[in-house]
């Protein structure tokens, strides 16, 4: 039985792939959990510590990174066959830098207060390990469409962690989400106090660590066979 079915599967693979074929969806979905850039690849942790004190900057940052990874992946993938191997890093940097500049200018034009809060970290998306990592590992060897999806997936995978960490930090640290008070006043009257540790960068490290712990105990695929 099995010997008969295998060739058929191969033939089917050779047909033109749909835009959202199973394989492409996997490229999009895997970074959300199995190959999450922050908790599994351990990339982009520095910015995750810096911009997660409040939820709003975290969301903006996540969107910015998603846009940059997606389009830099797309562009690099389109020109991948013409990039000389020896200067590929420089080419990648130029593409990423251009996109980051666009995002930065857009933020400054339309969301000045958030842009001020994110300060240097928007500019530092260029050096965000996720961007370079995906360009090197994926876009240089894949077709444009899957590369684009991979960029979106990794950007969102990064964004999920950012938002989860930011929500916890803002609720425990300032008692609010997106600026709205969520911890009721009667709790404060009873003696509850905001947790000052959550406002400090190490808190993000703890939370990401706990998240990794939880993720590995849930997702058996990630447990090292040691």
């Amino acid at each position: 039985m099995s010997t008969e079915t295998t060739p058929v599967a191969v033939v089917e693979e050779k047909k033109k792939e749909g835009l959202f074929s199973k394989k492409n969806l996997r490229v999009l979905r895997d970074p959300l959990d199995d190959t999450n850039p922050v908790t599994v690849q351990i990339l982009g942790v520095c910015s995750a510590l810096a911009v997660t004190v409040q939820v709003k900057p975290a969301i903006i940052m996540a969107l910015g990174v998603t846009v940059v990874t997606a389009f830099s992946n797309l562009i690099i993938s389109l020109i991948r066959n013409t990039i000389p191997n020896r200067i590929r890093i420089i080419v990648q940097l130029i593409v990423a830098a251009m996109l980051v500049t666009i995002v930065d200018q857009l933020l400054k034009a339309y969301m000045f207060d958030v842009s001020k809060k994110l300060s240097v970290f928007v500019g530092l998306i260029i050096t965000n390990c996720i961007v370079m990592g995906r360009l090197e590992a994926f876009a240089l060897a894949q077709k444009p469409w899957p590369s684009f999806l991979d960029g979106i997936g990794n950007g969102l995978g990064y964004g999920i962690i950012l938002v989860i960490v930011a929500v916890i930090r803002e609720v425990l640290g300032s008692g609010s989400v997106l600026g709205f008070k969520v911890v009721p006043q009667w709790l404060y009257d009873m003696g509850y106090v905001n947790n000052g540790l959550m406002m400090l960068p190490p808190a993000a490290l703890f939370l990401i660590g706990i998240f990794i712990w939880w993720q590995r105990s849930r997702n058996r695929k990630l447990i090292n066979a040691s």
């Binding site: 003696g191 106090v193 947790n195 000052g196 540790l197 703890f206 660590g209 712990w213």
Partner: protein
């Protein structure tokens, strides 16, 4: 005791494999071995028979902690009555402190052991005695005014992130009790520093005396060290501070117990003291001559008596799990703790309690120190060969 034995025997079958509460077996086991010497022996392999097991080790440390605990309770009452200008007898002072400190101890033990039991049941391992000491160290490093829910949070934090996440007792690379204190110091700074060291619950008919100041010695000496209380007062511990840390004398008794029983490493305690003295004397030499009240002029031995140094050096730095293991390593580890303590106290007024941070820092470096010591030893032996 006989009744307890009978009770345990009658419920034991339920906790055995196949019993109704099989899942709760670690909890039962912990309670049983806590009350009675277990009757089972190893069935195979070579093993060491020794009177000193983990339980006795932990219990010795608790005995060593008793002087600081008793003195701390008395001092809580003493400081309270002093702030209101009241005369109080020794027993009054002690009882006042007893009722203030007891809830903190109970919360610390209940929450911490609760977390340990949950982990033991979920992970199906034995409940270990490690928390017996941690549970007492946490209250002793707290100000008496600390809200109880913060103590609970600190206990949860240190048990889960300080210990269980790395595999439980004996696998932690930092001292869990200190981790709890550091967590609370950064999480609730308003409750861990400032004017919170004396319990100021109102007394009918008495007002705070004018001379009352909430500042501890560590804050005072940063501004002007000549305003510190006399060294004798600081040695005996008639000063404000965390519950257990004020009396260097009580810590000294504890140190003698720990050293005499061989539980605590005397190398670490001595090297901590030497580190403080060396750094203190060095700062005295280089201190600016035109500012006679500068913190760098503080006599070196003051640093031994002030704040929590004695407590930290005796009970925290000697933690056998998180300290350095090699003999040479212990000296390096202790010396650096002492030196960093003085540096942090003198140069960083934002973190008055330098002992806590320097011990935690050296906990992290202890494995590295051991590694270097062992490598060096191997190199020396090879050269000789």
């Amino acid at each position: 005791m006989k009744i307890a034995q009978k009770l345990l025997n009658s419920v034991r079958p339920h906790f055995k494999e196949g019993g109704r509460f099989e899942k709760l077996h670690p909890a039962f086991d912990a309670l049983e071995t806590f009350l009675f010497v277990p009757g089972h022996t190893t069935s195979q392999g070579v093993h060491v028979r020794d009177a000193i097991d983990l339980k006795r080790t932990m219990f010795t440390v608790i005995v060593a902690l008793v002087p600081t605990l008793l003195f701390g309770m008395w001092n809580v009452g003493y400081q309270h009555h002093l702030a209101y200008g009241m005369e109080a007898s020794l027993v009054d002072n002690f009882l006042f402190g007893f009722w203030k400190v007891l809830p903190i101890i109970i919360v610390s033990y209940a929450v911490g052991l609760g977390v340990e039991f949950i982990f033991a049941i979920v992970r199906n391992h034995q409940v270990s005695e490690g928390y017996l000491v941690t549970g007492l160290l946490i209250p002793l490093t707290m100000p008496v005014t600390i809200p109880l829910w913060m103590v609970a949070l600190g206990a949860i934090f240190c048990t889960v992130l300080g210990k269980e996440i790395f595999g439980g007792t004996g696998m932690n690379f930092m001292n869990p009790a200190l981790l709890a204190r550091a967590f609370m110091f950064f999480a609730f700074p308003a409750y861990m520093s400032g004017d919170i060291w004396t319990d100021l619950s109102p007394e009918a008919g008495h007002a705070l005396v004018d001379a009352y100041s909430g500042a501890t010695n560590l804050v005072t000496f940063d501004a002007n060290f000549t305003k510190l209380p006399s060294p004798a007062d600081m040695f005996w511990g008639f000063e404000q501070g965390s519950i257990g840390e004020t009396s260097a004398f009580a810590c000294l008794i504890g140190a003698l117990i720990l050293i005499a029983t061989g539980i605590g490493s005397w190398q670490i305690i001595v090297s901590c003291v030497v580190g403080v003295l060396v750094m203190g004397l060095f700062l005295n030499v280089v201190a600016p001559a035109d500012v006679p009240t500068h913190a760098m002029h503080t006599p070196a031995y003051y640093h031994l008596l002030m704040g929590g140094f004695a407590f930290g050096a005796v009970y925290m730095a000697t933690d056998p799990v998180s300290a350095a293991q090699t003999e040479t390593g212990k000296w390096i580890y202790g010396l650096l703790i002492g030196m960093f303590t003085v540096i942090l106290r003198v140069f960083n007024p934002a973190y008055p309690e330098g002992v806590m941070l320097s011990i935690l820092l050296m906990n992290v470096f202890a494995p590295l120190i051991d590694h270097i010591v062992v490598e060096q030893h191997i190199k020396n032996r090879k050269k000789r060969a």
